[in-house]
């Protein structure tokens, strides 16, 4: 401590400046990481669309390929004359996210309302760590949960043989839903608790009971925070990988109308399949990974940005 006091004023200033530069470097690293991610994904995607190392391509023109990527309903990587249309993967991803949302949003929201408005401190002190415990379980364990518990012990007894066993989208969605409950609950609870007490008092003074206060006054007041939590949770469900890779299988098939009882690949499980398989680096099949990841990245990024925007609005209202 003493040696830090030593030295002339200029030396000290220089030292301070160096330290600040170093800390700024730490902060800038995150921007570098973002740029690097975007760069890697975009370069890979461009390669995917433009390069084909002598492989037979279904479409000659690059623009046809790009167009098919967004509207095509067939994803036949690893076959001769492969076509790459993202829709089957997108369908799987959205199905998982929808099922997860159906599970996590009501339960998470109810939990948040209960914890912020009703629960006595003792219950709260017990419930929060429990929820955090759920958040701390590795995702691959959730995948294991899906194939060893959810499918055989919940879905098969309920739906009989028609459910895909062991791989189906429903079980993946359910476990992802359980996984994101803590996220919805804690973020929503934070925003519910941030609602000023005066609003609650006013409602009660007008003769509303607690339920009406919570649902009709506090919840609308905290709606932006709750919405942000929903968005963040769904974005997490979209980007979730290992649980989905284990539970949902990795066959990309386009079924319309969507059927959650079947196995289907999601964008993430497809990426994992390509990465762990024997696909050679630099082939179009391998490069398709970048295109899918890029798509995924922009979906989750836009959801996150949207969530931040919504959140900022709510902050502006009550601070």
């Amino acid at each position: 401590m003493h040696d830090m006091m030593k030295g002339s004023r200029t030396a000290r200033r220089v030292r301070e400046a160096i330290i600040e530069m170093a800390l700024l470097g730490c902060g800038l690293l995150s921007i570098v990481v973002t740029l690097a991610i975007a760069l890697v994904l975009i370069v890979g995607t461009v390669q995917f669309f433009t390069l084909h190392n002598g492989e037979a391509m279904a479409f000659e023109s690059i623009w046809d390929r790009v167009a098919y990527f967004f509207v095509g309903t067939d994803w036949t990587a690893a076959f001769a004359g492969a076509v790459y249309g993202i829709l089957p993967l997108l369908e799987g991803t959205l199905l998982v996210a929808a099922v997860a949302g159906l599970i996590a949003l009501p339960i998470g929201l109810m939990t948040a309302i209960y914890l912020s408005e009703y629960a006595p401190p003792r219950v709260r002190s017990f419930a929060k760590p429990t929820l955090e415990l759920l958040a701390g379980i590795p995702t691959v364990v959730y995948g294991f949960f899906a194939i060893t518990v959810v499918t055989p012990y919940f879905l098969v007894p309920l739906f009989g043989e028609s459910i895909g066993n062991p791989n189906n989208v429903l079980s993946g969605g359910i476990v992802v839903g359980i996984m994101i409950i803590p996220m919805v609950a804690s973020l929503s609870e934070d925003s519910l608790r941030a609602v000023p007490r005066s609003l609650r008092d006013g409602a009660i003074a007008l003769g509303a009971n607690k339920f009406e206060t919570s649902v009709k006054v506090v919840l609308p007041a905290a709606l932006s925070g709750v919405t942000a939590s929903f968005l963040l949770a769904v974005s997490r469900a979209v980007g979730e990988t290992m649980a989905v890779a284990l539970a949902c299988g990795d066959t990309a098939n386009w079924t319309w109308p969507p059927n959650p009882a079947e196995a289907a690949a999601t964008m993430t499980s497809f990426i994992v399949r390509i990465a762990k398989g024997d696909v050679q680096h630099g082939t179009t099949d391998f490069n398709s990974l970048f295109a899918v990841a890029c798509f995924l990245f922009f979906i989750t990024l836009s959801m996150n940005i949207l969530a931040q925007k919504v959140l900022r609005r709510y902050r502006q209202v009550y601070q």
């Binding site: 800038l28 009703y118 429990t130 701390g136 949960f145 739906f159």
Partner: protein, 830 residues
């Protein structure tokens, strides 16, 4: 609020027609609800599974089902009104537990409702051709919906009885199904029943909640507390189910793995036994071949090496340089041993030969007697032949006949003149053959001749064996057989360890000391012979090829160490060994170490950088737009899917850095996808989380602390380093450890990074690696194996074990975090 028209309590029990009217009135408002509920609930399976592809079918079914439900609702409502006839409004209905009659009526009503419901829905199902392939599943659903339906009708005080009933029905149903002879075990049915009963209760609670909300504001809060608690502990409930399942699978692991290990031990023991046998067979065969080889050596006239060798040695002794004298002395000692062996053998052979000669003499005598008799006969026959030929020549003179007669007379005279009459017979055997052709006699003579010839021409003892055999074959003789045995035994001795088999070595030694043409030649001969046996494609190789393969195969199994089959034994094996293609041999040691390594690197990278960034954002507020940009960016980075980080890591660390290092320094032991790169990838992943946690901790430090320090003249950094950071340490620590446990549980980025599933080496900083979640992922995906007709999800059990280890690791880390935080907090009480 209530859907029912407010009524005053009737003075007297109303008539049946009144009740029917009320029932209809009540049901009017519920028809739509009933239809909707039916559509949603009964067709849930259909909608999800796409039993019937057309929507219109679903709609038709729904309407028809709703009608059926409505119809079945009427008697139910009627019964309900009968049972609670003295009460006025639904929300004030009180069940009179004291009244047995009421209870009975309730029970009867519920049963009737259930029965009518089941019947109607069943009939409807048949009518519409809606039959799931699995009848039991249909029944399950029907029972479930029936209970839900009953629950909808019951007043709230029936909640617990109904819950109990639901539990009972399911457990009983499961038991009955198991009893009928279902292929699932009772315990599994019970568990399934419990799960389903819980599901019913959840539905029940939902239905009751709706009903309460519908009915009464005063109940809303209470209802919501129930629902809130249910929602809050839903996760815990799932966790418990999962723990139960994991415990189950771990139990199965402890059940099956020792069995498999025992099985493998048995196989190993069997293989060891087999191997011993096969090796014995090989040894016998080799001995036999060796013997043959030695025999060849001897027969190849190489049996007299010793004198020459001795000569060479003597010569060498005189001429060899001093440093070689030691070798010569050794060789001499060797030779002495050999001499001794040889002398002994030679003496034995001499004795045997003596006896052999004696026996041959005996044989000779015997054959001589035979020959004599034969010769006398020949003489007689010859005399007879001469007589007849003389008469023939006298009758008609012929020069050729005369010549033959003369020859016969000459031989005859010789025979008569000789002391041993057979000698001329043998001598003129060929001629005699012309005289007469008695095959039997001739053959005998011939054999005797051969024997005698051999005896006369050679006394080479090494050929005796064959001769005796020939003699034995010609005329079986017990004495000869005995002799043969003796000689064979002696020869064996001669071929033994000190015998001529060693000759080659000696030749080589002699050649090295004093090269001579003779020795060279003999050595070449020996080598030729040796190649014939031991060289590539030689006798040994050909004869042992199959055996060697067999032995090598058995050796693999036999060399496996026998394992401890106790529960503790297999568990410690699991913890201390690497992956294997055999599920019972697989362990998690490399994955465990890999996780620790990667976690350490993540920590070392993410904490300094993350805290640095957090400090910059919180303590250098003058950063302005740059700080804001970084902040927004960090918030967005936290939401980037982990696979994307994996792609980044694979590109930056593998493709850009370590692949080049691997190629540039191929011997440095740097793998392209190494621990360092994996740890840094996870470090990037956890960085935003660490930054946010650190920011919160730093923000929580009261600004009075900072102001105080500034007032004392501290610089900005001194304030941060000496005051802010120590106070923020508990929060930073907690956030760090939580994010670290997330990193350790993360597998997706490392799959993308290219960490391998099958790593059998202990990881180091630059080596290939695997981590626990990857290991679990690899195992959970593998299909079941069949052992003795029993299909076991043995890999899945392995995964469950690994999950237990991983969870224990994470819990331990969290516990450490809590302890550290508490200690830090205790020290930091301001």
């Amino acid at each position: 609020m209530s859907a029912e028209p407010g009524r005053k309590p009737p003075e007297a029990p109303p008539s049946v027609t009144t009740l029917l009217g009320r029932t209809l009135a009540w049901s009017r408002n519920r028809t739509l609800l009933a239809v909707l509920a039916y559509v949603v609930l009964t067709r849930l399976g259909a909608i999800l599974n796409w039993f019937t592809p057309e929507w219109k079918d679903v709609a038709i079914t729904g309407v028809k089902g709703g009608m059926a439900l409505f119809v079945s609702l009427l008697p139910a409502r009627f019964l309900y009104l009968v049972s609670t006839v003295s009460k006025t409004d639904l929300e004030e209905v009180r069940f009179n537990y004291g009244s047995f009659l009421t209870v009975a009526r309730w029970g009867l009503g519920a049963t009737l409702i259930l029965a009518s419901y089941l019947l109607l829905v069943q009939l409807l199902g048949i009518a519409l051709g809606w039959f799931a392939p699995n009848m039991a599943a249909v029944l399950y659903r029907l029972v479930l919906l029936g209970l839900l339906y009953v629950a909808l009708l019951m007043p709230r005080h029936y909640f617990l009885p109904a819950a109990a009933a639901a539990l009972f029905v399911y457990v009983a149903f499961g038991a009955a199904r198991a009893g009928i002879g279902s292929d699932v075990s009772w315990g599994e049915e019970f568990a399934r029943g419990l799960v389903n009963a819980t599901f019913v209760l959840l539905l029940w609670a939902g239905a009751t909640f709706l009903r309460f909300v519908m009915l009464s504001r005063s109940l809303q809060d209470k209802a919501f507390v129930g629902v809130g608690i249910l929602a809050t502990f839903f996760g815990l409930f799932m966790l418990l189910i999962f723990m139960w399942r994991i415990a189950n699978e771990v139990g199965e692991w402890f059940h099956y793995v020792p069995q498999l290990v025992a099985r493998q031990n048995e196989l190993t023991l069997q293989a060891r036994k087999d191997l011993q046998q096969t090796e014995k067979i090989r040894k016998d065969k080799k001995d036999e071949l060796d013997r043959q080889y030695r025999g060849e050596l001897i027969r190849g006239d190489l049996g007299e090496p010793l004198p020459e060798y001795r000569l060479a040695l003597e010569r060498a002794k005189k001429t060899a340089p001093p440093e070689k004298q030691k070798n010569i002395a050794e060789l001499e000692a060797d030779l002495r041993g050999a001499d001794k062996g040889d002398e002994k053998t030679r003496a034995a052979l001499e004795a045997a030969a003596k006896e052999f000669r004696a026996s041959v003499a005996e044989l000779t005598k015997e054959y001589q007697a035979k020959l004599k008799a034969a010769a006398v006969e020949v003489e007689k026959m010859l005399a007879a032949a001469i007589k007849s030929l003389t008469a023939q020549v006298a009758a008609e003179p012929d020069s050729a006949a005369q010549k033959k007669l003369d020859a016969m007379k000459a031989v005859h005279a010789e025979i008569l003149g000789a002391a041993d009459p057979y000698k001329p017979v043998i001598k003129h055997l060929r001629k005699a053959q012309n005289f007469f052709r008695d095959d039997v006699e001739l053959e005998k003579l011939q054999l005797i001749r051969v024997l005698q010839e051999q005896l006369d021409t050679s006394d080479g003892i090494f050929l005796n064996e064959r001769r005796y055999e020939e003699a034995l074959a010609a005329a079986p003789n017990p004495k000869v057989a005995e002799k043969l045995k003796v000689i064979k035994a002696i020869q064996e001795q001669f071929d033994g360890k000190d015998g001529l088999y060693k000759t080659k070595k000696r030749y080589e030694a002699a050649l090295a000391l004093a090269p001579t043409n003779e020795v060279q030649e003999k050595l070449a001969n020996l080598k030729l012979l040796q190649d014939l046996f031991e060289g590539p494609g030689g006798v040994y190789e050909v004869q042992f090829a199959d055996l060697e393969i067999d032995i090598a195969e058995k050796k693999i199994v036999a060399d496996m160490p026998l394992r401890d089959t106790s529960g503790w034994g297999v568990f410690t094996y699991f913890l201390t060994h690497g992956p294997s293609s055999q599920p019972q041999d697989a362990g998690i040691y490399p994955a465990l170490l890999g996780s620790l390594w990667v976690g350490l690197i993540t920590l070392l990278f993410a904490v300094p950088v993350g805290v640095g960034a957090a400090l910059y954002l919180e303590e250098y507020k003058h950063a302005g737009w740059l700080g804001k940009l970084i902040q927004v960016n960090i918030n967005n980075l936290a939401g980037v899917p982990s696979v994307v980080y994996g792609i980044l890591g694979a590109f930056v660390f593998v493709e850009l850095i370590f692949k080049h290092m691997e190629n540039a320094y191929p011997n440095a032991g740097i793998a392209a996808r190494n621990v360092l790169g994996g740890g840094l990838t996870l470090g990037l992943l956890t960085l935003p989380v660490v930054i946010v946690a650190a920011q919160e901790a730093i923000r929580a430090v009261p600004s009075s602390i900072r102001h105080g320090a500034y007032a004392l003249g501290a610089t900005h950094w001194q304030v941060i380093w000496n005051n802010v950071l120590p106070m923020a340490r508990p929060g930073i620590l907690t956030g760090t450890i939580l994010s670290l446990s997330r990193a350790i549980g993360e597998a997706a980025p490392l799959v993308l990074f290219g960490a391998l599933l099958f790593v059998n080496q202990d990881p180091s900083l630059f080596s290939r690696f695997t981590v626990m979640p990857m290991q679990i992922f690899g195992w959970a995906d593998r299909p079941a194996l069949t052992f003795d007709g029993e299909t076991i999800e043995i890999w899945r059990f392995n995964a469950a074990m690994a999950i237990v280890v991983l969870m224990v690791m994470l819990l331990a880390m969290n516990a450490v975090a809590i302890v550290l935080r508490n200690r830090a907090q205790r020290r930091m009480r301001y």
